[in-house]
Subunit: 264 residues, 3 copies
Amino acid sequence: MPTDTTILELDAPIALQAIAQLAEHSPLIHCITNTVVQNFTANLLLAAGAIPAMIIDPSECQEFAQVADGLLLNVGTLHREHCPTYYHAAENANRYAKPWVLDPVAVGGLTLRTEFCRKLLSLNPSVIRGNASEISVLAGGGASGRGPETQLSTDQALDAARQLATTIEGIVVVTGEVDLVTDGHRTLKVLGGSVLATRVTGAGCTLSALCAAFASLEGDRLTNVASACWMMSRAAEFAARQAAGPGTFALHLLDGFAQLREAQ
Amino acid sequence: MPTDTTILELDAPIALQAIAQLAEHSPLIHCITNTVVQNFTANLLLAAGAIPAMIIDPSECQEFAQVADGLLLNVGTLHREHCPTYYHAAENANRYAKPWVLDPVAVGGLTLRTEFCRKLLSLNPSVIRGNASEISVLAGGGASGRGPETQLSTDQALDAARQLATTIEGIVVVTGEVDLVTDGHRTLKVLGGSVLATRVTGAGCTLSALCAAFASLEGDRLTNVASACWMMSRAAEFAARQAAGPGTFALHLLDGFAQLREAQ
Amino acid sequence: MPTDTTILELDAPIALQAIAQLAEHSPLIHCITNTVVQNFTANLLLAAGAIPAMIIDPSECQEFAQVADGLLLNVGTLHREHCPTYYHAAENANRYAKPWVLDPVAVGGLTLRTEFCRKLLSLNPSVIRGNASEISVLAGGGASGRGPETQLSTDQALDAARQLATTIEGIVVVTGEVDLVTDGHRTLKVLGGSVLATRVTGAGCTLSALCAAFASLEGDRLTNVASACWMMSRAAEFAARQAAGPGTFALHLLDGFAQLREAQ
């Protein structure tokens, strides 16, 4: 299949349809994520219409894979002792045909997570969501080593994203000023959002959880996952209009998600 | 003692008296709770007039049992390695005659926590706070397996709650549209609240912490624990009037608690 | 060098200069902190102009010491298994000449953390930030044992703070109604703030993280660290004017930090 080099913007009606589908189905999303953003992630999923569950015991993770609709693996506060739990959770998601999302927070300069995320690639994540630097590292490029901050523009990472999507036979989301969502062949872009989202911890992490929720829906997964980005951008714009700074922004962001959900 | 089948609504003056008592005594509440809601739990206890302490090391838990006024055990993010710490904390609370609350988050479909919470019943928790499904499971009924979401109405769980309260010789709180608080003989109900509380993660978890605080007060424990539910319902109604969605609701909820405290 | 017994108030222009320097350099601050306040800490550092990173794996902590600009160690939810990670993180900060801050939460009545924090003193923390009770305990005085609440006035702790600062050859910050910042010879004070900060969990913990950020700046470390206290006090006053209680206060506090940063 030849690559379509045109990057289309996701249409609002398609995104709104996906948001309505999310509200209707209330997918149950298992989040194995860093302890910094667990609360914000749970609240954002609830506001958007999904049901979060943060379960960490290996045996319970295995049981839960059968009832969950999707899985998030976020390595933000990874400890070497967590790795088997993460790995088996991904295996179980595959076994029960549930989509799973990898958020490779700060891969590059930190060896444990970089090697572990590369190992997870062999389990073919359904979706990888990262910034340009993180996606570039996983696609085989260089690393910045300055932690979670990105050094590349989103455009520069597009080639890496397409390559990585082809490798995992899944979807790669590169977020930044413009969000790009690609399966290696088709690429969608989502514009807008707010710079305030970069001043709140976990905006990217929570978007990854939301990608798991949207990836669990029926229909075209590429447009569904792009709809997660679209919902985040619209909620961020709503919040930026209400907010006097990053503190109030984070709360209005949750309200914005709820209003988008309720409007459907 | 025969069971009183009349379910009385908790009187506001009694609840307000308990709230004043809480503000006066500022009980120190040891919370061993899930990592998703630790922050919200601590802030809610502070707003209500109690002092939270989140201590997790086994040896420190043992020391702290002597100075704490109450204990919360919440199994939301239980790991099998945590079980001994939880168990010994409950034993120590009993040893020092401090009330302890069990929040059996999502028991039913997940084996580790279900078996562990059943084992904890033998230590006679002072209070168990859960939704209808969780209480039903602990009383010996079936389970839904869909995680923390409840499938039964509060009324349907009343029989289970009475039975469970009798078994543990303590108090069982079933929260839902109507909150029921029973010691197996007397049952109180608390009305009101806001549906927005179901869109914020940890509303139930924080109520369980609050039950530990109120259970530590002098006087009739049944009305004291019901007063925790009453305070939550009134704060939720206050917050619902101020809020534009679940994000702002959570913050106004804390303000509502503080205003109820300060009004006494 | 004789001790200057005059306690000068930090000048606003000096604090504003340090705030501008923080915004310009965006120091990367490694926070090994308790799970209750991780999210609030990360958001406060971002609002103030620093970049937080919460990394917990021992090998990653070692790698990160080379790129981080400062380190926070907060023992709020310490577990005995964490101690080696904390200890090596401090050693590595020293090896790479990065400042590190110790927040000895609730030392005194709890043996593990008290003994461990005393052991950390031998690694000469750049800054220790605590309340009067905590500083007094580390300086060799008695303990209250009632958890994180302080029992001594800030003034009473000044002698202890000077003594402790001399011992570690670093800076000690005692926070309370008046904040005192001393290197054992010179002492600065910072006035103001809001009593609402005592009703939000982690106000002290986040200030310790902010001290790490300011300690990483060029120039006089004593005035830089005092500037962290100054920024907190001004942001708290801003928030108190906007807030209707502790919930909304916490969010406006973050907005206040962002506004102080942006004004420079």
